[in-house]
């Protein structure tokens, strides 16, 4: 399901003394099946944009096309449920949304709101718990007994249980340990592959952008300043620094190598690419030298 923004403006508390403009003239498309990374400095409007993806916020002017639904400033708040089912949002620190007595009930809560029967919803809950890599023994535990990382997974399972077509992730790995972070990012990549999801990822982790995303939207001060593939976006380090963004670790390292005299046709984004590029450039003797044709 594609999501398209057409000349979207958004102002918080319009008409009051506290009015602040958060989005200005957004024209951007999130294509069906893409893995879109939304990056930008803190306060650049990423989270505001994200809340437009399932009509939690409606534009102050302009149109958001979510699938074939058109969201305009005049759209009424009724009848948005079908939309919210299709676009699942995992908010930052989603563990704060848990409230039911048991993990199973909490995961089943979303589907039940969308009219799924209790029995079916509980069955989905069991599947989802497995999907996020937690043992079935947790199903009957209280969500408040779990560790932070487990709670995070349960919360994500609760969103996945709605079986959305678009999965929106707002810094899903913030505050997790390196292993948990990697597991989770792999899980999302796998899910996208298995279920043909459209994924939108908001993150400050440029490594994740380089490793997983195929489409990047860069925001600065409420405007979209660049869209393209990660390769397009990361080719210009100076431009990124100007917009207070960083490079993936690999690309940053490659850049240092360039300053030491190496040459890359394109700055590598991932470790594999970097390794391949380096191997191609090293003299063959560097590999413990069988052949000696470089003398």
């Amino acid at each position: 399901m594609a999501i398209e923004f057409k000349q979207v403006d958004f102002t918080y508390q319009p008409g009051t003394p506290f009015e602040t403009k958060a989005l200005a003239d957004i024209n951007v498309t999130i294509p069906t099946g893409s893995y879109t990374a939304l990056i930008g400095h803190t306060g650049s409007g990423k989270s505001t944009l994200l809340q437009h993806l399932n009509a939690l916020l409606k534009p102050t002017s302009g149109t958001v096309l979510i699938g074939d639904r058109e969201i305009t400033p005049a759209t009424s708040n009724k009848d948005l449920k079908s939309l919210r089912r299709k676009v699942g949002i995992v908010f930052q620190f989603p563990e704060s949304q848990l409230f039911e007595e048991t993990v199973a009930k909490d995961i089943a809560f979303g589907p039940q709101n969308f009219g799924v029967s209790e029995a079916d919803a509980l069955k989905t809950a069991a599947d989802m718990l497995d999907l996020v890599g937690l043992p079935a023994t947790l199903l009957d535990r209280s969500p408040f007994d779990l560790s932070g990382g487990q709670m995070r997974r349960v919360a994500i399972a609760g969103v996945l249980a709605m079986q959305p077509q678009v999965l929106v992730l707002d810094e899903p790995t913030a505050g997790l340990d390196p292993q948990g972070r990697l597991d989770m990012m792999e899980m999302f990549a796998q899910l996208r592959h298995d279920q043909d999801l459209t994924v939108v990822l908001v993150t400050h982790q440029m490594d994740d952008v380089a490793n997983y995303a195929d489409h990047v939207i860069v925001m600065d001060q409420g405007r979209v300043v660049k869209t393209g593939t990660p390769r397009d976006v990361f080719q210009d380090p100076e431009w990124l620094l100007k917009h207070q963004l960083g490079l993936p670790k690999t690309t940053a390292f490659a850049r240092q190598l360039v300053q030491k005299g190496l040459h890359f046709d394109q700055l590598p984004l991932t470790e594999d690419e970097l390794a391949a590029d380096l191997v191609a450039q090293l003299p063959a003797s560097a590999f413990g030298g069988g052949s000696t044709d470089d003398e």
Partner: protein
Amino acid sequence: MMNKLIFGRYIPGDSLIHHMDPRAKLLLSFYFIGIIFIANNWQTYIVLFAFTLLAIMLSGVKWSFFINGVKPLIWLILFTVLLQVLFSASGGHVYFHWGIITISQLGLINGVYIFCRFVLIIFMSTLLTLTTPPLELSDAIEYILMPLKAVKFPVYEVALMLSIALRFVPTLMDETEKIMNAQRARGVDFGEGNIFQQMRAIVPLLIPLFVSSFNRAEDLATAMEARGYQGGEGRSKFRILKWQSRDTWATLSFVALTVVLVFLRG
């Protein structure tokens, strides 16, 4: 939704009123509410309005803030005024009479006076909160409560609770908004359906809020202890309130106002 409330917000500024001692502002606001009841004819109300508008002008805060401060309460005010107009004891010329409903000259005048009182009180208290940061306000309350220590009232503890509560109001508001959005994304409709459905929809919001408040309280207590907090007694103060000449002048102007009111009173 909650953002529409102007009452209780602070607008940073650099005016005479902003720089006044919060104790003076707090006490004088209460005093003002007291002397409003001295007024009982149109001359006195004009003087009160002139005084209030002068104070608002001195604060440099835009008029719209004060108008917006009255707006959420306008129905309450009109309701009270209406009750007063329709049911007050008859006096003066009677314009309309039906059963227990009487519209009389006296009733109408009283209605207008009550309206004026409401507006004046809201203007003055809005002025207080718009020009005083919440922390200064809680400092002022602590100072004013100090005499109660003589009767074993836990002044430091109350002041601490007050300043922590004030500090966490915006944080909790943000949190509420965030959890509401998260639950909406999971298919909860807030504020829709009949009263029972609405009450049920609140549960997924209230429980996480309580849980996060408990967690926050625990973290905060740990952090406070780790920084050597052992109770309010014997602490020194970082923010020290200073009574300045402008506060004395402000007090004198209120005294003058009182004298004028008593003099003009019918």
